[in-house]
């Protein structure tokens, strides 16, 4: 039996290696035919394109590597802001769905049902072309100045593209987080609600201090995968012209023809992003579980 298993594994390995070899051979033939070859020397060459938005100084004479770094930072910016806002919206909507107020819970239910059945890309286009580009050209509002040129928030200048991607990702991910939060809250025994009510705690305080902490262990793992989804979905920013990592990679590849290398770099950047998110969530998870165990 063991010997047979060994033979099967050997067979599978050979088949996989043969497939890989065939693909690499085809690739090599095609690369020689197009005269490109493989290499990363082009990263140091000047990019030659401008970026509409950059956290650090960038000019077209800077290198492709620097352009990709700026794109990565732009992605990080919208992802981090999106994570925070989507969590706030999701927790609020999830709590609203399990609240006693009929109207409030059905409003939250309608939000979830509507948002989850419509493609995210369509929603992003809506936020960009209808909601933000539909704003008047002259700034309106006091503390928050709104116009179709950009949003000014307490001295912070945000581009319309950034806002559209941020709002789109927040509203879309918030709906999924609401479902997770509702599931987590429903998993907390009803006795806990009755207990804090009989102690005279207000509804909101009881939810924050008694119910949500107990719901967290059930919520966190699912929340992590939603965060990873948000990070991946942020690449749709290219549809509204926000210069995120994917958009910069796309331009770079179109200009240089370096599809394989570009793909490898994109893959590495996303592995790094995923590690950041899942590592942070794992630390948070163990901190929450530790606190919960100590308080018992």
């Amino acid at each position: 039996m063991r010997r047979r298993n060994l033979f099967i594994q050997l067979g599978i390995s050979i088949a996989l290696l043969a497939l890989l070899g065939l693909l690499i051979n085809n690739l090599a033939v095609n690369l020689i035919r197009t005269g490109l070859g493989l290499g990363f020397g082009w990263l140091a060459r000047p990019a030659g394109f401008a970026l509409a938005e950059s956290a650090l100084p960038f000019t077209p004479s800077d290198s492709y590597l620097w352009a990709l770094t700026i794109g990565w930072l732009n992605s990080l910016k919208v992802i981090v802001a999106g994570l925070v806002l989507a969590t706030v919206l999701g927790v609020a909507a999830g709590a609203a769905r399990s609240s006693g107020n009929r109207l409030l819970s059905s409003l939250a239910g309608g939000y979830v049902a509507l948002i989850r059945q419509v493609p995210l890309l369509l929603q992003l286009l809506f936020w960009y072309f209808v909601a933000f580009l539909g704003l008047p050209a002259a700034p309106m509002g006091g503390l928050i100045k709104l116009s179709n040129q950009g949003i000014q928030l307490l001295g912070l200048n945000l581009s319309v593209e950034f806002c559209a991607v941020l709002v789109g990702l927040t509203v879309f991910t918030g709906a999924s987080i609401a479902e997770i939060v509702r599931g987590g809250i429903n998993a907390v025994p009803r006795g806990q609600w009755e207990a804090f009510r009989s102690l005279g705690l207000a509804e909101g305080l009881g939810l924050r201090r008694i119910v949500l902490p107990q719901a967290l262990p059930a919520i966190l793992p699912a929340l992590t995968s939603q965060y990873l989804n948000l990070a991946k979905n942020s690449t749709l920013a290219i549809a509204v012209g926000y210069a995120d990592l994917y958009a910069v990679s796309d331009t770079t590849i179109t200009q240089t023809g370096r599809a394989i290398e570009g793909f490898l770099l994109l893959l590495l950047s996303f592995l790094l992003l995923n590690l950041l998110i899942s590592g942070g969530m794992a630390a948070f998870n163990s901190a929450v579980l530790g606190r919960l165990n100590r308080s018992r």
Binding site: N5, I8, Q9, I12, S13, L16, L23, N26, L27, V29, N30, L31, R33, G100, N101, L103, L104, L107, L114, Q117, V118, P119, L120, L121, L122, L125, F126, F129, V130, E203, K232, N233, S234, T235, L236, I238, A239, Y246, S249, D250, I253, A259, I260, F263, L266, L267, F270, L271, N274
Partner: protein, 324 residues
Amino acid sequence: MNRWLDRSITLLILALIGWAGWSLLHWLLVGADWSVVTTNLPLYAVGSFPADQRWRPLLWMAVLITLTLLTLVGPKRGWVRRWLPLAWIAMAPLGLWLLAGGLGLLPVGTRSWGGLTLTLLLTGGSGALALPLGILLALGRRSDLPVLRWSSAGYIELMRAVPLIAVLFFGQLLIPLFLPPGLEINRVLRAVVAFALFAAAYIAEDVRGGLQAIPPTQREAAAVLGLSPVQTLQLVVLPQALRIALPSLTNQAVGLLQNTSLMAILGLVELLGISRSLLANPAFIGRYLEVYLWLAAVYWLACTAMALLARHLEFQLDPVRSSR
């Protein structure tokens, strides 16, 4: 105190809904111009399919809608019910034949495919490829053979780490690079393959969840009955695992349908792509809201129909119900 808070929240929401309803009504009566939708209905349905051949994709969609209605609200038993599963399976080859032509029909290149027809065909085609591949990957990940386990897990984790748009973009760019020179496959097929390769990784994880939920006693019982490992898998383990995984597989299917819209960025004229080219037409300049609302309604309907069909299937496969 609590009752007052409750009442004020209710009043606030009513005021908000009233305001939103009033603005929407005002826009519908005064601002909206639906000609961008009404004059282009054939484009949304079939794209730029040759006008004299339009009956082919339209016929396919009519059959699809009829089947959906028959399944959901048709007779509960009798010959119609018995033939339904077979009819559903026949939909994919029928669609391909009606769209591509051949066998007595005028051939139509994939360049002219578009609209809702293409959206549905992309969903169906990639789903049909992704499901078996996903099941194989899930079985591979739970195999006793380390090589198989590692390679399946590696593939699944890699695919789940990258964004779909990157997979699709590189599917269009890289698939030709990895094929022998001279062998070319067209854009639609490349998109279907890339979608299937991506979706299979997610399906694999859902199926793995179903496999993990099967108690080991089921395998032992099958072994005692003298079933071979393949028979055990085919007759005992997989049917139960797939039934358990069905709700999450449904979510994947709905997600797949929504994600076909990403092909609009890469230049296919499926439902969202055709709308983008319509909005670029000077005759319909600025009619974003009308088009997006219309598209949202179509996607919402298609996704809801799919979810209802899946719930129907779940109900049919429920052992408690079917044993009665």
